[in-house]
Amino acid sequence: MAYLTWLGGSVQEALTQKRIGTPVALRAFFLLSPDHGLLLPTLAEALTTAAGWFQSPLTRVYALGGVRGGEITALAEFSAGQTALLTAATLRDPTPLADLLVIGNHGTLRHQDHPESFQPGRADPQLARALERSLAAGVPVDVER
């Protein structure tokens, strides 16, 4: 199973218990692969996963950094007011890292992992294009649905 697919399901199951109340914000870091080509798909997949946790579609995203520099960060807004800040960077160190801080209105849910192998899942091409548009223009863009 692709890593983020597994992680998405695992977090979703925990959120269902409502122990952190309603999820309102996400901070995530993914330093998983040396492949520059995986940065945008990873971010796009993670944003889609976050939209599922929030049960709220992504409306606006600002991407900064760049594929060439090996690091992209996306600051995203969702329709019900949730926010997410996600960073994907190429692996520079021996140890990969996936770090999540899901913030709910009654607590936090955290995940930190050093997965030995990283298989990307399927990224929403529309979302990947929105990230590319933002990176190219250097401004936030609306995500069309």
């Binding site: 960060t73 007011g81 926010t83 800040l85 009654h106 607590g107």
Partner: protein, 366 residues
């Protein structure tokens, strides 16, 4: 010997600063002014001074430690600098870019030194700076700061409709809430400037009401995120806010990720640590104290019976040098603080740009 005038007292960060100056053999506390009553002054065995002008005119006062509410901070700092006193400032420096610039100008004209309290004196900030300076990371590509305070009784804010920010922000501080992007974000912006010495070029930010009815009622945010670009292509982000007593095993997430062309550095203010689990009763948050429901102040936390969280045992949180000792070093050596009013004012410009961005949804260029 430097005479220190405490401007503001109880239920302000003066509760933290006064003991630092009192403990340093180079300084002596002179009195307290601009406090609501004389209790704080009496607790320190100091005179409660009724008049700010008269207090600032005293020849035995050399430093003004200023912790008045943010909305009054600019005016009083200018007054103190014009009276020829060095100013030790609570953070953030001021409530507007105009106030911040006025403080910088008055310090320059009066030839007095200035300093703002931050976290850059901590072990972990020093480590970050040392690693950046070593070149081990290669070319620095991005810096990510997360600083969230685990205080306050969360879960009381209505989550709908989402917050709508307005610009300019009209008021920042209330008894029961503060603008948290300003209050918490200032630490990360100061750290960023201190680590990079690079000006910020663009700002995009969000502000939210996720946790507290008090913030919602006063129309101030309890959470925010900022994405920045800096000169030379460096990017930076920060998350800032107050997320509730029970959201963290310690004081709240406080971490830094530096990504360079060759390597990355992750720093957690609560590492290294011991973790202790036993059959003691679990930690419980204090009852809500109407005088300070968010746990801003030492004195009100003590009144409420706030107990230290027992699970994480961290002995590296204390700074190797206190803010007061650092500022006294600057005065002794006749040098500018690395967190002078001029540098702190840059942070206010960025925070104001962040509020503008959050209100308009647009990227703000500086």
């Amino acid at each position: 010997m430097y005479g220190v005038l405490l401007i503001a007292g109880g239920r302000t960060h003066q509760e933290n600063y006064a003991p630092l100056f009192a403990a340093d053999p180079r300084s002596k506390l002179i009195g307290v002014v601009e406090d609501r009553d004389d209790r704080f002054a009496r607790s320190l065995g100091l005179p409660f001074l009724p008049d700010l002008d008269a207090a600032l005119a005293r020849p035995d006062v050399h430093i003004a430690s200023i912790a008045v509410g943010l909305e009054r901070r600019g005016r009083i700092a200018v007054q103190a600098a014009r009276a020829g006193k060095h100013i030790f400032m609570d953070k953030p420096l001021a409530a507007s870019a105009e106030d911040a610039r006025a403080i910088v100008a008055s310090c320059r004209e009066s030839r007095v030194r200035s300093h703002m309290d931050t976290m850059v004196r901590s072990h972990w900030a020093a480590r970050a700076r040392q690693v950046v300076a070593s070149g081990r990371l290669g070319e620095l590509r991005s810096i990510h700061c997360d600083l969230l305070f685990a205080k306050g009784q969360a879960g009381t804010a209505p989550l709908a409709p989402p917050r709508r920010e307005h610009f300019p922000p009209r008021r920042f501080t209330f008894v029961d809430s503060k603008r948290e992007l300003m209050t918490t974000g200032v630490y990360s912006l100061a750290l960023l400037a201190w680590l990079t010495n690079r000006p910020v070029r663009t700002v995009w930010a969000t502000t939210s009401n996720y946790f507290f009815a008090e913030h919602h009622r006063n129309d101030v945010e309890d959470f925010g995120m900022i994405a920045l670009t800096l000169e030379g292509g460096l990017t930076a982000t920060l998350t800032a806010g107050r997320i509730g007593w029970s959201s963290d095993p310690a004081g709240g997430p406080n971490r830094l990720l530096l990504i360079g062309s060759r390597a990355t550095l992750r720093i957690d203010a609560y590492q290294p640590r011991l973790e202790l689990y036993n059959d003691d009763p679990p930690w419980t948050p204090p009852p809500v104290n109407p005088a300070d429901p968010m746990g801003f102040w030492k004195s009100t936390q003590a009144e409420s019976g706030v107990k230290p969280k027992p699970t994480w045992l961290v002995d590296s949180l204390a700074s190797p040098i206190t803010e007061a000792a650092y500022f006294l070093d600057c005065l002794d050596q006749n040098r500018e603080s690395d967190m002078s009013a001029a540098r702190a004012a840059e942070g206010i410009e960025i925070l104001m740009a962040a509020y503008r961005s959050a209100a308009t949804g647009e990227l703000v260029r500086l």
